[in-house]
Symmetry: C2
Subunit: 155 residues, 2 copies
């Protein structure tokens, strides 16, 4: 920003000049751990925002679903992602789109920071968290139960 452009250089360790490192969510009971949020691209002329979320080793995002779509590119490290009824390992530059109304959660399962870019519409609905009955249903899939428990996963 210093010379009148809106250029924000990258800094060490997946931080950026003039980009604040934020709490992941305001609600502490939303079932997340060791995850930060940075808003990288946001402008009145853009209908989407690009955010960067990063988990420390062992950290995870909320298990949630919503009607809006997430467009995701992994930027740092490897980890596992629950999307619908699949648990998949993802690494740098891998892409995934999370469809509407689909349970999803990101976990830093590989003993290293795990960070991803997330493109999302500026206008969007609020996430829903699962009920105990919905968690019971999800856990019927063994890979999902292992993922939710933080147990070792096959690739």
């Amino acid at each position: 920003m210093t010379d009148g452009t809106n250029l924000r250089p990258a800094r060490e360790d997946f931080r950026w000049e003039s980009v604040e490192v934020l709490t992941y969510k305001a609600e502490a009971d939303a079932g997340f751990m060791a995850i930060t949020r940075q808003v990288l691209l946001k402008d009145a002329g853009l209908a989407c925002e690009l955010r960067y979320f990063e988990m420390a080793a062992g950290g995870y995002s909320s298990l949630e679903r919503h009607l809006h779509v997430h467009g995701v590119m992994i930027l740092r490290g490897s980890g596992h992602v629950l999307i619908g009824d699949s648990v998949r390992k993802m690494g740098p530059r891998d892409l995934v789109t999370i469809p509407p109304n689909t349970w999803h959660q990101f976990r830093a399962t590989e003993g290293e920071p795990f960070g991803f870019l997330c493109m999302v519409n500026c206008e969007r609905d609020r996430p829903q968290l699962p009920t105990p009955a919905e968690i019971t249903e999800l856990r019927k899939t063994p890979a999902i139960a292992a993922f939710l428990d933080g147990r070792p996963l096959t690739p």
Copy 2:
């Protein structure tokens, strides 16, 4: 895509499974060289697209302007970017927003491939190319003349 998810793993050399490497533009007279386009994130539920543009060493994008905004993150290598009346060097993970109606061009000036993510509204106006008179006006700034000629630039 193979297991029913829409995960598209990264491949070597900044390519992705199930993502086609496209011509930069259909119009060959739009003043570009040695640049490709890949559409990474595009979905009926997303109001923006995320594209990846990559120039080979010495390549460049069109010099253009339009009313829509570009949100940019450099993903590969370093190069120079003209935005308005500034020429700036950019490298991995640097961020910039290109405001409406602002001349801009990307150049792979550092003898290496230079690639960037570009987030843009799905609904947008067509780019304008500069007239000879507009190019003459731009070239009055010495750094811009050097940039347009592909001459060495200060950082």
